[in-house]
């Protein structure tokens, strides 16, 4: 018995339409001790990203003309359905840590902080698909909270293809269904793609459709994040008597 991912009336398992993203909620500046932080929810996926720096280099060598971005991705033991005793240091976590680093390198203005280190620590406390996307979105917000200058927002969204339909923002069940999973990181102002990955296989005819779905999803996320950040900045300005 195969699962139906899209009902006859066009609804997905969680009631969304194929092009709809999940509900997003975020809050910045959770931890006064850190330079910046953000709690981010994308549907049932919940992540916390903490940023420290720019500060003195503790890991590896400092670079002469620029900052080093140091990322770590980890998951809480109770984050997934199956309990994971070791949440960091495993292959998947290392891979996503590197992915975060490479993607953020393309937007952070690292030349402004030579010989320093910027730490970005992502911790997934509940996982329901799209954890790397949620972490990238949260990382952008946490870096902004830390006052680190960025060339652009990084918004990330994954898309897939099931039951002959491109689907936007996959949850865990849809992700594990065996179809393609295409997470992207999108820079809204330039319209460029900063990161793109794909697993499973898909024919070239469908690929462009899926990519476009992911980009549309990222644009939807961007408008939500942009609005939220603007509101917060207005509030901060008001509390400092600037507006």
């Amino acid at each position: 018995m195969s699962t139906e991912f899209i009902s006859p009336s066009g609804l997905r398992l969680d009631g969304r339409r194929p092009h709809e993203i999940r509900h997003i909620h975020f809050q910045q500046n959770l931890f006064p001790k850190a330079s910046g932080s953000c709690y981010f929810e994308q549907g049932n996926t919940k992540v916390i990203v903490t940023v420290y720096g720019p500060r003195e280099v503790t890991r590896g060598i400092s670079l002469m003309g620029r900052a080093v971005i140091n990322c770590e991705y980890s998951m809480a033991t109770f984050a997934t359905g199956e309990r994971r005793p070791r949440g960091k240091g495993d292959r998947r976590s290392m891979e996503i840590s590197q992915l975060l680093q490479k993607t953020l390198e393309s937007v952070v203005l690292v030349e402004k902080f030579p010989r320093t280190q910027i730490d970005v620590f992502a911790h997934v406390i509940q996982a329901d698909g799209g954890t790397r996307c949620a972490c990238l979105n949260a990382a952008t917000l946490a870096l902004m909270d830390a006052g680190i200058p960025l060339k652009d927002f990084v918004v990330s969204c994954a898309a897939g293809y099931l039951d002959n339909t491109p689907l936007c923002d996959l949850n865990f069940v849809e992700d594990s269904a065996g179809g393609p999973d295409l997470p992207i990181a999108y820079l809204p102002t330039s319209g460029n793609v900063a990161m793109i990955q794909m697993d499973s296989k898909v024919s070239l005819d469908h690929f462009e459709n899926i990519l476009e779905t992911a980009i549309q999803g990222a644009k939807q996320i961007y408008s939500i994040l942009q609005r939220g950040v603007e509101e917060r900045v207005k509030e901060l300005a008001k509390s400092k008597g600037l507006s």
């Binding site: 916390i48 420290y52 809480a76 033991t77 109770f78 359905g81 620590f121 406390i125």
Partner: protein
């Protein structure tokens, strides 16, 4: 010791803090035996059997409990197994990257296990499914999100709240004879080296047919700092912890039974221990009442609301 690495204080600051404790007017204005305010959130994580988040001023911890069925421990054949793990998130400090937080986490795990595990208590016995064979294994996973002192107490509140929130399905386990037929739909087979068991959910997976845990005897921890040999105080902040030589943690339950005592640091006079025990009784009663009240308020809210964002 491990906590002193996190805070650097000058001698004058240390002396000021010690004097403030002695004069019953601490840095944040509290009296010696007064706690900061705490809040409890339940059921924040849907993937767990039970979960809770407790914040004690700026100290913030999350506890998630997951249950699985397994073989009993040979030394305790008619009890379940409770395993405690602690993890320090990188949001506490940048130095907890990679394996940096492991030392502090394993220290906390060891202390909590010593204070809270009580073989023979109703909770452990309730977790047994078939004596000598099968039992529930509860994995209590603690995540420290922020630390501003007094992690032991905060963790114990969160563990107790999470246990109160935990529900386990009622199972009937029957031993399968070797000639048993294929397993029917709706039942799970648990395989052991020698014996095969068939696990059946009572009530056919009806959400109302669940087992709540008996935490009537489960203790909470009240930690005391003993400054300058004679000033006893509770709920230390990070800075106070860095100046205090001796600490005494007492695990005490609703029946005012002292479940266990752990002492850390420098030596103390025996009458200090007796004083702490006396204070612990009244403080624990008040904290347990407030904790129970917060938990039942949350449970009522859970029944009305569906999903609440964790940090809001």
């Amino acid at each position: 010791t491990f906590k002193k690495k996190m805070i650097k204080l000058s001698n004058d600051e240390k002396s000021f803090i010690k004097q403030s404790i002695k004069h019953n007017l601490r840095e944040d204005g509290r009296e010696r035996l007064s706690y900061r305010s705490f809040s409890v959130e339940l059921g924040t994580f849907a993937q767990t059997n039970g979960s809770a988040r407790v914040t004690l001023a700026d100290t913030d911890v999350i506890v998630g409990i997951k249950a699985e069925v397994g073989k009993v421990h040979p030394n305790f054949p008619d009890e379940g197994i409770i395993q405690l793990e602690v993890e320090c998130s990188t949001s506490v400090s940048a130095s907890f990257e990679g394996r940096g937080g492991e030392e502090m986490a394993s220290n906390l795990k060891r202390m909590l296990s010593l204070l809270l595990s009580r073989h023979g208590s109703p909770l452990y016995q309730q977790l047994c499914i078939i004596p000598n064979q099968l039992c529930w294994i509860l994995h209590i996973d603690c995540l420290i999100v922020q630390s501003q002192g007094n992690l032991l107490d905060c963790l114990s509140f969160a563990i107790r709240a999470a246990l109160q929130h935990t529900t386990l399905p009622k199972v009937n386990a029957t031993e399968l004879l070797p000639e048993e037929e294929d397993v029917q739909v709706g039942e799970e087979t648990f395989m052991d080296m020698n014996t095969q068991y068939e696990l059946e959910l009572e009530g056919d997976g009806d959400p109302e047919s669940v087992m709540h845990l008996d935490i009537s005897q489960f203790p909470i921890v009240i930690s005391f700092g003993i400054s300058e040999g004679s000033s006893i105080y509770v709920d230390a902040t990070l800075r106070e912890e860095a100046c205090t030589g001796a600490r005494l943690s007492i695990a005490i339950n609703e029946a005012a039974h002292v479940c266990s005592i752990e002492k850390f640091g420098t030596s103390i006079r025996p009458d200090m221990v007796v004083s702490c025990l006396t204070f612990a009784k009244s403080i624990a009663k008040e904290k347990l009442d407030r904790l129970n009240e917060a938990v039942s308020r949350e449970q009522k809210k859970q029944r009305e609301l569906h999903m609440v964002p964790v940090f809001s």
